[in-house]
Symmetry: C2
DNA sequence: GTGCATTCGATATTAAAATATCGAAATACT
DNA sequence: AGTATTTCGATATTTTAATATCGAATGCAC
């Protein structure tokens, strides 16, 4: 199985999102050119990305939306459900348990786990919550290989170690902690801090505020508003 | 102000996370070499990243941890607080309201907004929640320029438009929707789908399952376990 | 103090990603 | 039917990011 570049993988769900919309609107085909316009990705890049999923289009027409969806979904292995355990049923954790879109993206959270014993046995959005000491056993018995990590930062590393010891092969890490695990464990960070870093810096770069941020930004805003008129 | 590459910006919070840890342990200095070991980033890359923040180290010793933290934080503009409004006080939204770490990352959520009128006037983690119709007015009066978008997907685009019309300059977007807004509005996506896409694909690539996923993975697991012994 | 090991930081090389170019195929228009 | 236009998809170029190399500076051991 060929290795698809990370950056391509990260763009594929963007295309999918648009394609679902077009499908609902009853559209039948879409061109890479149009996808490029809507995503801001260069059109040759869109073509490359699409060709990596293995689908072919027809000149002058574009791609059949159904085929494209099918191709991207199967490329991402979103067509059949993988079971996952979620550890840390706080607000972030439980918002994931209630996020039904995950099932459309190949992820089936079959149980939650939390160190708070009062949660044990309860249902959160229809998902059973167990105490932590059940994790290893259930993980092996149910052959679950994906772990979702939504615990507080100070428990992240130890929980990750428990996961790996229990047979988890891939960790979807929502904590800011840099996990130190065996190198053939797949760790994928949902890195809020990274995203915030980009936002903060871009804002600084654009409005170049040294001390009186707000007023400078407001001046800028007024100026550009005037220019528009 | 120089433009720092996105990929560097995304690595900086990782370094910070480690540095906070070292600081607490009472360490005084750290080498780029050591940071490279811990993050998996190449050591010359770490040096480049660090030099972009404008700090200099001393040969044989490394960098003073205090200086490095200071330098990265000010580079990301995390040293002084920026006010932000959050729209969509669901579980994801309220988990952000309760996430005190954001203040350490320069972000001060001063109010929440929700279309559910029963939430108006309530406090969530000490943050006041308003009804949506107050947004534009408060945004202008309080000169808030950062909007956090945690609404359901079908309200994402319209909410973003309201934000922009109200004077928001940067949107931190937690929805899977590709926002279509004026090009000089900064949009930064926290892209869960992108991250899941990478995880799913990497898992597929590694265990190359065509039909009987689980058993194949388990076979692989057993095999590698045996190899280790 | 002198030599040695370590680390910085600048420059050079390599690798990868993004963009541009171009021919071929398919449809629509004349 | 023939031509023009759009779009695909392959190849080539450019740009950017990652890695390697190397000299200089610093501290430590002797």
């Amino acid at each position: 199985m060929i290795s698809i570049p990370v950056l391509t993988l990260k763009r594929l769900p963007q295309y999918l999102e648009l394609l679902y919309g077009f499908e609902q609107e009853g559209q039948d085909t879409i061109s890479a050119t149009r996808l490029a316009e809507l995503t801001g990705v260069h059109m040759t890049q869109v073509r490359k990305d699409i060709s990596l999923t293995g689908v072919v289009g027809t000149p002058k027409v574009g791609h059949k939306i159904k085929d494209l969806i099918e191709s991207i979904e199967s490329c991402l292995n979103w067509k059949d459900l993988s079971s996952a355990f979620l550890v840390g049923v706080g607000r972030l954790g439980s918002s994931l348990l209630g996020y039904s879109e995950l099932k459309r993206k190949g992820l089936n959270i079959v149980a939650g786990f939390d160190s708070d014993p009062s949660l044990a046995g309860t249902l959160v959005d229809g998902v059973i919550v167990h105490s932590m000491d059940k994790f290893a056993n259930l993980c092996q018995r149910m052959k679950v290989h994906i772990g979702i990590l939504t615990v507080p930062a100070d428990q992240a590393q130890s929980t990750a170690e428990l996961m790996v010891a229990s047979g988890i092969l891939a960790i979807w890490n929502f904590t800011p902690t840099l996990l130190q695990v065996d190198e053939n464990i797949i760790v994928e960070d949902v890195d809020m801090s990274a995203s915030l870093a980009v936002l903060s810096r871009r804002l600084s770069e654009k409005y170049d505020h040294d001390s009186k941020q707000i007023s400078k930004i407001d001046n800028y805003k007024n100026k550009t508003d005037q220019e528009k008129q």
